[in-house]
């Protein structure tokens, strides 16, 4: 697998915690070299468990993970050297300085001191001015960046970001996205989890959805959107309606906005969307509309649909 298109191969991975909680059920997936993969899923879905097994923090119950060909249990040293992890929890030292904590991380991962690299990382994350500050004196957003700096200190080829933008303001989120893109350009594979669907939509090449310990699917972002893409046509009505008129009953119509709009949902991928006929029928039914809007369903809609459907 080294050098091939697949950098992480997860095979029928399952995890049952000592408490009996089943957090992963036979999850298999392949992560491609150099991609940005976003993992979405509700709280408790098993995202962090998956990441923690790959990184060596949690032991798998069964199944295997190979990182660039190295089994994460048997050949953990080679596997872990390639990985940087930014955990979900803001766990930092308190009394150490920013500089000494990133230097520590680099050493821990088996790399000799390299002040120039550490300086670059800290500057990229706007932490250079704070390099001598004790970590406990930093704000939450800065601490999050310190964790990122620690993860990047040993120049990993794979970066796991477990909810990197939780509790981070809009500006910093933009900065992080820019940083992630820059890392990707330099060839780093990035796996991130997020609850912000816009984030996955904006950042990822591929999107995986995990729910109730199972990987529901993993798809190319654009294909996914197209495949599941539904469009909506909303007609703004001159007079509100109490119900969808009899004459239009065979159409898939709903009322929105307290009866002030009539909404038609259709599949944007089929040749005949049925819009032309619908507009005729609406006119014949004597309904007057003042405005027309069409809207593509977002990943958020898709996500909610999916999770509802399968649970």
């Amino acid at each position: 697998m080294p050098g091939s298109g697949v950098i992480i191969a997860v095979e029928s991975l399952s995890k049952t915690y000592a408490s009996g909680v089943r957090s992963l059920e036979s999850v298999s997936l392949e992560i491609r070299r150099g991609e940005i993969l976003a993992l979405l899923g509700p709280n408790g879905a098993g995202k962090t468990t998956l990441i923690n097994i790959v990184c060596g923090i949690v032991k798998p119950t069964s199944g295997s993970v190979r990182v660039d060909g190295h089994d994460v249990v048997r050949d953990y040293r080679a596997a872990r050297k390639l990985i940087g992890l930014v955990p979900q929890e803001l766990s930092t030292d308190a009394f150490e300085s920013v500089w000494s904590t990133v230097r520590f991380s680099r050493g821990l991962f088996g790399k000799p001191d390299d002040s120039a690299h550490l300086e670059r990382v800290l500057r990229d994350l706007s932490l250079w001015e704070k390099k001598d500050a004790k970590i406990m004196t930093l704000s939450g957003g800065m601490k999050r960046r310190v964790l990122i700096a620690k993860a990047l200190a040993h120049e990993p080829r794979i970066l796991f970001l477990d909810e990197p933008t939780a509790g981070v303001d809009v500006n910093l989120r933009r900065d992080m996205w820019a940083m992630v893109r820059k890392l990707r350009e330099s060839g780093v594979t990035i796996i991130l989890t997020t609850h912000y669907i816009e984030e996955a939509q904006e950042m990822a090449d591929r999107i995986g959805i995990i729910n109730k310990a199972k990987l529901l699917f993993l798809e190319d972002k654009t294909q996914l959107m197209r495949k599941l893409g539904k469009k909506e046509l909303a007609m703004q009505l001159q007079k509100p309606l109490a119900a969808v008129p009899e004459a239009l009953a065979n159409r898939k119509l709903t009322l929105g906005d307290g009866g002030n709009s009539l909404i038609y949902t259709y599949d944007s991928n089929v040749a005949d969307t049925g819009i032309a006929g619908l507009l005729d029928e609406v006119e014949r039914a004597g309904i007057v509309f003042t405005d027309l809007r069409s809207r593509e369903s977002s990943l958020e809609d898709i996500f909610i649909d999916l999770v509802k459907e399968r649970s």
Binding site: Y17, A18, C55, G56, I57, V58, K59, Y76, R77, A78, A79, R80, K81, I83, L85, P87, E89, S91, T92, D93, A94, F95, E96, S100, R103, F104, S105, R106, G107, L108, F109, G110, K111, P112, K150
Partner: protein, 253 residues
């Protein structure tokens, strides 16, 4: 061997020591000095010597040993307990490090600190009580081995503990009584016969006696016995740690 990792852990731990120099070095040296003053200079003069050694001088090795034991255990346990408590242990668990490297880093730092303390305490004692060291190499050997063994034992406690209370319970309930009853202040031969027998189950007795022998050439046991006991304990500690890492006990869910 991931030598950079060992150095990183060691350096990190030593920085913590020097950041808290008052608490981690000054305080124990001061406390032990008070013992030297009270028992060595003040009371010692009124108490007869033991086995030809003045009382003040007799208690020095034991006191140093006592202090090193408790400091090593607390250093060894804190070093690994703190990251567990703060959550920063994730980094250690996800790093390309083998158990032995983690142990060398943490135990090495804790033992180094205890050694510095031991040497400082011995130097301080010289101000209050005159003493000599007959077997300096044995003395050093005991010092180093005790520091390593007790730090390793502390490391195990640090892994086992999941609250600050548990972190203290073994040092307070087990180690302190054993050290006080470990013959720091008396020779075993001064005890009633039945207690002489019971005392033999206390490993600290062998440590203190071996250490004292390296100073004055007097001991309740052969020095080889003392050395064997401490090596056995060290081996037991290593075996236990090995199991902990292999099974991921209390470290990995």
């Amino acid at each position: 061997m991931n030598l950079y990792a060992i150095r990183a852990i060691y350096r990190f731990e030593m920085a913590r020591t020097f950041r808290t120099v008052t608490q981690s070095i000054v305080a124990p040296v001061l406390t032990t000095s008070l013992y030297f003053v009270v028992f060595g200079s003040a009371i010692g003069g009124r108490v007869g010597g033991i086995e030809g050694v003045s009382y003040g001088a007799f208690i020095i090795p034991g006191l140093v040993m006592l202090s090193m034991l408790s400091e090593s255990i607390s250093n060894g346990s804190f070093g690994i307990y703190l990251p567990k408590w703060s959550g920063t242990i994730y980094e250690l668990l996800s790093a390309p490090v083998a158990p032995i490297e983690v142990i060398i880093g943490y135990v090495g730092a804790a033992a180094s600190k205890s050694l510095m303390l031991g040497v400082l305490m011995l130097a301080t004692a010289r101000f209050f009580v005159p003493y000599e060291i007959h077997h300096p190499f044995w003395m050093l050997g005991f010092l180093v081995l005790t520091a390593i063994t007790a730090s390793t034992f502390g490391f195990i406690i640090g892994i086992w503990a999941d609250s600050f209370q548990k972190l203290q319970i073994i040092p307070v309930l087990v180690v302190t009584p054993l050290t006080f009853l470990g013959g720091s202040f008396y020779s075993i031969s001064m005890l009633p016969p039945i207690w002489q027998k019971i005392t033999l189950a206390n490993p600290v007795v062998y440590l203190v006696n071996g250490f004292r022998w390296s100073f004055y050439g007097v001991s309740d046991f052969a020095v080889g016995t003392s050395f064997a006991v401490i090596l056995t304990i060290l081996a037991l500690c290593f075996a236990l740690i090995w199991r902990i890492f292999v099974t991921g006990y209390k470290l990995k869910a």
